[in-house]
Amino acid sequence: MFFLSRQTVGRHRSLYAGSFVALAVGVFLLGLAATATAATIAYHGPASASISVTTLGGDGTAPQNVKVPLSDADVSGLQTVLSMVGTISGFITVFVIASTFAFAVASRRREYGLLRLIGATPRQIRRMVLGEAVAVALAASLTGAIAAQLATPLLLRKASYTELAPVKLEPASPWVPLAIAVGAGLLVAMLGARSAARRAGRVGPIDALREASLEPPRIGPVRVVFGLLFLAGAITMLTLIRPSSGEGAVPLAMFTPMVMVIALTLLAPLVVPLVGRVWAVPLVAWTQVSGRLARSNVLAAPRRSASLAAPILAISAIAGSMVLSLSFAADSAAATIRDAVRAPIVVTGAAPVDRAGVKAVDAGVPLQVVRVAADYAELEDAEGIDPVIASQTRDLTVRSGDLGELTGNTVAVSKEMAGFEGYRVGAEVPVVFPDRKPVKLRVVAIVKDAFGVNPSFLIPLELAREHAPQARTERSFVLPADGVAPADLVQRIPGAQLATDWEADQAEGLRKGNRLGLVMLLGPAALYSAIAIANTLLMGSLQRRHEFVTSRLLGATPAQLRRMVLWESSLVGAVALSLGAAITITVGVLVRHSMTSGVADVPITVPWGILLGIGGLCLTLAVGSALAPTAYLLRVVAGQNAIQQGQ
């Protein structure tokens, strides 16, 4: 059957161009993430930039030597982002490929019927579809891999010396990562093509004789069952986004929409017509015949409409949820910072203690320590503080223990860290300081969380000075003397800011960081989805030449057909976007609830501009890529008519 596959791929170029581009871009992104990750793994900074420690062992693990890079050589931030980019790209790829193949099969029922008629067995048809998928996937994966290899140096140059990777990264050997990307591409194509192939195998010879483009309206029970399973999974994940999940809420906000998108896509042939009917009400009321036609086209071919809606749904739900969640996360972080700072003045760097009008200066020394656990060792942020002053300038509410005992080899741990690691007052935390000295710190207190103000580990100031002599104060909290107005004092201290201004700056910094992360995470996925949206709609419209010819012969004007396509694609877009919006709102509300419990007066920042931008872009793309080929086809059709009349 490979003979046939080769021939048909050539013929159905417009159908397969879509799958090809989608897969090539997917493999390109995966390949890029893989080569860049390889570069970070291959990176060995100078020995001075890392600390070697021996893990504790126990619990069935032997102690082992690990090297923990210090923050100025730490590339794990980039690795995390790359793995997330890989995940999102992989997800969208599976998704787009599955829907493009499903689409290709749906629009070729008659051809499969004919093959069955002249003696092809269902198995041969399945193999033919899979063969086509292999042919396309092979070409696309190799193209994507080569492009990724070419783009790697550029990406590494951009990523070097950034917050995520404060070092110079060099390309590593590309063979393994690219092989992984190509393999993943082929696998994804096979997975995506498998269900399409199975559906093609079910086409009967009689379908060659009937009006073949009308698909059977029912969807298979297996699909429904899986759809419901994923839906149940997504709902379970939604219930996990609650106050107790803490930092876990953000990853959940990223993955839950994906599961939800899978569920809705599986159930789309049921859901899309349902939502479509609602949106069609105003459409039919406001337009004349074109709206009605669009409505019946969308509702009569639920599977086709579902394929068109899928990529719009995917990107709007995922991007929307992340944008909204991160904005709410920044809101709650801003509120936390606001509540955690009690001093009215914040100074960048160290503040002069002896200045008139100053009552006390809380000049903590930030440092990093390597925390050694049973089977790993991790770099942790810590701060050396004077507990007496610090408990006046910031919120250091003690949950248990006594901050007064913070002297010598002791530590106060934030509540969240204590919860994760099971630390209690009296427990010992083995750490290695930047001067490479291992010390066992005794936990004397568990204090309230204050992200952005207090790190998870607070140690006595003298201990920090002793083991990290180079560490410098980065910001100090200043208490004015009694009767001195903070507004006046701020004028007299260089680098001083009112605490409220400082808090606003911190929040702004957070949002800026989020924006960078969003661009890195969603940029490729959005680009990819844009291609996918354009792709499915283009394919969809190009397949309709026959229909357009017939309609023109029946007397429909080009304008009427264009309007029909406009309404059709808008309807599909509206259905997908409303589902995407529903997911976004649900996730956003839950994330907000989970993050703001226990914090009063959290501001609400809804990034309307970005959200509406995503929606608008999706809709524009959908409508544009449906209209462009329609206009083209109508011109071709008009040309043919003219020729026929001339004869």
């Binding site: 046939l4 004919l114 008629l117 003696g119 067995t121 010879p205």
Partner: protein, 255 residues
């Protein structure tokens, strides 16, 4: 209707039956309600016979053909092709039987647009896993008068040429039964004559059995027997009739 016995089931003509229909009924069920397309058809198609099936639109001709060829399952009744009962076969066995024993020509959409004429004709052989011999393909192309067109694609051929490719494709496996549903429905009379001549030749020279549904009395006159179908039931037949006789019988039926 001259020379027609109005009572059916009809007793078999001479020769062993190639295709046997036994009390076939077919009911289509849909949301709009049930349609009895066939209401009990029994008939033997003798080996090597050329039979035309005629009847008013909606009388069940296409349904009859589809059930006879095993493309659709009759609601009740059995179909026996060369001694094999279709009812008991699964999809794969049915497919294998179809590619070994049956050839098809329909009014339109007969060819794969992506393949050349040559590849379209050779396709049934490839599907059986055989490598088509170039000579065989050339021979059937010659037989249908398309020897120079092997490299063309269907879109580059006229409607009549496309039908001839479909016939060539059906000929290449030497099927014992040929099913044709309005094979000349979209062609002018000259081209129709060529196509019908090819079908006629298949029965006369090779002994293949042809069952052809048609609306055209001229086309039906190529058959040695014309069966009339009305409202899902056999309504009579004419043997070796002229187009005029067939047309007269048809207008009787439609009245």
């Amino acid at each position: 209707m001259t020379a027609t016995a109005p009572t059916y089931p009809y007793t078999a003509p001479a020769g062993p039956p190639a295709l046997l229909l036994d009390s076939i009924t077919k009911t289509y069920r849909s949301k709009a309600g049930a349609v009895d397309a066939l209401r009990g058809v029994t008939y033997h198609f003798a080996r090597g016979s050329f039979t035309a099936v005629m009847g008013p639109s909606g009388s069940g001709k296409s349904t009859l053909l589809q059930c006879a060829a095993g493309l659709d399952h009759p609601t009740t009744g059995t179909v026996v092709l060369n001694g094999v009962t279709l009812l008991g076969l699964n999809e794969v066995e049915l497919t294998k039987l179809r590619r070994a024993e049956m050839g098809f020509v329909f009014q339109a959409y007969n060819l794969l647009p992506s393949l050349t004429v040559y590849d379209n004709v050779a396709l049934p052989l490839r599907l059986t896993g055989r490598r088509p011999a170039r000579n065989d393909v050339q021979r059937v192309l010659e037989q249908v008068g398309l020897e120079g067109k092997a490299k063309r694609r269907p879109a580059e051929l006229s409607g009549g040429q496309q039908q001839r490719v479909a016939i060539a494709r059906a000929l290449i496996t030497r099927p014992s039964v040929f099913f044709a549903d309005e094979p000349t429905g979209a062609l002018d009379s000259g081209t129709s004559r060529q196509i019908l001549g090819l079908l006629r030749e298949a029965t006369d020279r090779v002994g293949q059995t042809v069952v052809m549904v048609t609306h055209d009395p001229v086309a039906a006159a190529y058959a040695e027997r014309v069966l009339f179908l009305s409202d899902g039931l056999l309504a009579g037949h004419l043997d070796r009739a002229t187009p005029a006789q067939i047309a007269a019988a048809m207008s009787d039926l439609e009245r």
